[in-house]
Structure formats: C-alpha cells, structure tokens
Amino acid sequence: MSQAINPKGARKYVAGTRAADWAGDYLGSTLGNKVLVAVTGLSLAAFVIGHLAGNLKMFSGRESINAYAYFLKHDLGVLIWVARAGLLGAFATHVALTIRLKLKTRAARPIGYATQKSAQASVQSKFMLSTGLVILAFTIFHLAHYTFCVIHPVEVNGVLVDYSQLTHKGKHDVYSMVVYGFSTPWISAIYVATQVILFLHLTHGLTSSLHTLGLLGRRFTPVARLAAYGFAGLVLAGNLTIVFAVWGGWLTLPSDVTAL
C-alpha cells in the first residue's frame, strides 16, 4: 500500500491572510474605531434630520402627519425593518465603540496632572460621552413614550387610555398623541433639555467626524464648525418649534379625540 507524501497539504488555495485579519487590523485600531464612530455618527445625524422633516408634518395638519406615520408603519413593508435594523446597528456600534475608546484612553493616562490648562478644546468636546449617554437614555425614554406608548396614560372622554389607542379616521392619531405629550410640563422639559444636549453633541461630533474621515483640510476647520453649528441648530430649532407650538396654542388638541 502506497500513500502520497504531501507535506504541504492538499492542492488548494490557502489564504495568506483572512478577511477577519483585515477587519481586526484596520477596524480594530483606535483610528479604525474612530472611523466607525464617525460613519455611524454621521448616519445617525442623517437619521435625525430625516426624523425632523417627518416631525414637521405636525404643521401640515392632523391628517398629514397621521398618514405619514401610517405610511412608515404599514406601507414600507420589509423596508421598515431593514431601516430599523440599520439604525439599531449604527446606534449600538456608535455607543459600544465610543465606550471602548474612552476606556482605552482612560488607561492611557493613569496618573493625571495636578494642573492642566486647555488651549483650544471646546467645552462640548470634553463631554461627548456624557452627552452621548444622555441621548441614549433619552432615546429609550422617547421610544417608550411615543413608540411603545407606555409612559403617559391620558384621559379621553373620562376613560384612561394609552397613546396607542388614540384613533382618527381608522389611523393611529399621532397628532393628538404629540399634543398630549407636549402639553405635559415634565415630558416637555425632558424633550427640550435633551435637544440642547443633542445640539452640543452634534456641534463637536459633526466637525470631528469630518476630521476623522479626512474630508476637509485644516484651513476649512472653521467652515466645518460653522456647518456643524448650522446643522445642529436646525435640528434644535426644528424640534423645539413643535414643543413651543403646543405650548403657545398653535398646535391644539382636536375636539374629536377618540380612543379605541
């Protein structure tokens, strides 16, 4: 009986390095992590502006926003789940990597200075993790409040109902739900406060991500900062307008609110 002696193994392609090595080397480094933080951060920012555009339908009337919400939930089919998965993935990656980087960075300076003066770092740049964690907590609250409707029962025609039961012309009455929400001082206070926090996060975050991705040269940093303030300001002003419109009586509760 003869047996082939084949010390190098069978004839087939053997990879020198694997795709996982690429990911580990390039994405696993502090710089790779930063690039992922920037890309997910920019995606979340794109979502935020899209979300704002949807929210502003409050001003084009009850039927308009209700129809828009209905469209998102029922007419998009599988796409809504793709979008949700992408959003959740981006959010989770962003949070996990920023926490990982922060822990590494903390280990990079175990003994601090007795005095340290900063020269040109913005205040918000030093509180990115804190403002981020507030946004995380707020996002959970926001979902519980307007998506799962478990925070704030309201009285409609003498019966205590949750938001999901509000109905208008066979559709979920998102319009009345929002007015109910922002007519409640403590709830509005949470929304206003976190919009300011988000503004701070975005002003540094957007400038920073343009740097991280190397998209603008140093001489354009003031332009990047201006753009970041503009974008973040738009988000802040847009979202707060809705809250203030409810307070000011511009958006009011319809007389025919019904709950199913």
Binding site: W22, D25, Y26, L27, S29, T30, L31, G32, N33, K34, V35, L101, K104, T105, A107, A108, R109, P110, I111, G112, Y113, A114, T115, Q116, K117, S118, A119, Q120, A121, S122, S125, K126, M128, H204, T207, S208, H211, T212, L213, G214, L216, G217, R218, R219, T221
Partner: protein, 251 residues
C-alpha cells in the same frame, strides 16, 4: 525675581512620587526656564538635597528632551517654544509655578521630571523609514519634487519628538507625532513605495504602546513647540482609509 516652584519628585520608576515645594530667589527675567531649574538645583545641592532630575540637551529648541508641564501647559506658556526657549520674563515675579513630568502610560516616569519616551522610538522603528538603493551616491535633485510637497514634508519633519502633543492631549494620544512622521515621508516621492503599509503598521505600533485615541480637539497643535498642524492628522486619516480600502481591493 522670586518664584515658588512646586515640582514633582519621584526617586525611581516604582516610587509613588509626590509634589515638593521650593523657593528660588535671584532669578533674572532673561534666564531660561532651564537656567532657573539649574539655579534651584544648585541651591538644593548646597542644602545637601537631591537635585531635581530633568532631561535637557541642546538648550536651543531642537532636541526635544527638555520636557516639562509648566502650570498645566506643555513647555510652558509661550507659543511655539520648548521649555529651554521659555524665559522667566514670561512669568510674574512671585509666581507659583507647578512643574510636572509628561503624564502618559506610554511615558513612564524614570525619575522626577524625566520620562521614558522610547515608545516613540518603537513607533518609528515600526515604519518610519524609506527603502533606498545601495550603490553610488545619487545625483542631487535627481528626483523632482514640487515645492509645495517639499514644504509640506518640511513642515511635518519639524517634529522633534518631544511628546508635548501626548502630554497636552486629554486622551494621551500620540496622533500628532504619528501623523507628522507618516505625513513627512508620505509627502515625498521617496516615501511612496511603503506608504500604504507604513500607515497601517505605525498606527498599530501607536496603539500597542498604549497611547489614547484622537478626538479632534486640537490641544496638540496648540502645545506643539514646532507648531505642527492637525492638518497632518487629517492626512493620516486619509492615508489610513486609503490603505484599508486598497487592502480590500488588492487582497
């Protein structure tokens, strides 16, 4: 001029260390900060105490060894200056000066104000070089290099590796140093063959040494005695992303 010097004293790598306060007198405004430290040390030696250990060599701002955190600022209050280039006229008579060593896990304190910056050497060894032909001396200017590229390379090559960027960075990141080294070689034709591999291995070496990550806040460029711009960090990021993408395409 009179000063109160509050300075870090640490016997060796393992000693816990502490701040100590000394008074110095008879300082003239045109003394450099290091000369003031020399005077403090003479005073300590006369009193039978250990002098404060600090690194220094050129005393003209080119070697990058005179590293001190003065009142919370790397190399003290003057723009674009190393500690040896800072003069006592930058301070007010009677000031209390807090003097500390660079603080970073990658820069362990050896003694008093002296830290071990060999982490930088290892980062350089990992990729801060170019391949050259052996044989006869090449003609000068045989490789044409556009003026802007020369200038850019020279701007980056100003880095003296002092570590002020690490010291000033709240994250103890060495990105400015790293980007100056990668950017200096990457700006020149001679640096092109290794360009994509260099940025990858040098970033990996940077991380291995335990430096933190860059949060794009610009403390480093403000602290840099050679005023190297964070433009080079952006260039580093571009090079890194290019290297990653080309590694996907080319296997």
């Amino acid at each position: 001029m009179k000063f109160t010097i509050k300075v870090w004293r640490q016997k060796n790598r393992t000693d816990a260390g502490r701040m100590a306060e000394y008074a110095v007198d008879g300082i003239t405004p045109d003394m450099s900060f290091l000369e003031m430290m020399d005077q403090l040390n003479e005073q300590l030696i006369k009193a039978g105490e250990e002098p404060v250990a600090f690194d220094h060599d050129c005393r003209e701002g080119i070697c990058g060894s005179c590293n001190m955190m003065i009142n919370g600022q790397a190399h003290g209050p003057e723009r674009g200056a190393t500690t040896c280039q800072v003069h006592m006229r930058s301070f007010r008579d009677g000031d209390r000066l807090v003097v500390e060593p660079w603080r970073a896990a990658a820069f362990p304190v050896i003694r008093d104000l002296v830290v071990d910056r060999s982490a930088f050497d290892r980062v350089i060894q990992s990729g801060g070089f170019v391949g050259v032909n052996t044989g006869g001396t090449p003609d000068g200017n045989a490789v044409p290099i556009p003026k802007v590229d020369q200038d850019r390379a020279m701007d980056a090559a100003q880095c003296i590796g002092c570590g002020a960027c690490v010291a000033a960075c709240p994250n103890a990141s060495a990105m400015l140093f790293l980007s100056a080294k990668v950017g200096h070689l990457g700006a020149l034709p001679q640096g092109q063959p290794e360009r994509k591999a260099r940025v990858k291995t040098m970033v990996a070496a940077h991380d291995r040494e335990g430096f933190g990550h860059c949060t794009n806040i610009g403390e480093c460029e403000a602290a840099c005695p050679k005023e190297i711009s964070t433009e080079f960090i952006m260039q580093l990021n571009r090079d890194y992303i290019t290297s990653a993408l080309s590694a996907v395409v080319r296997g």
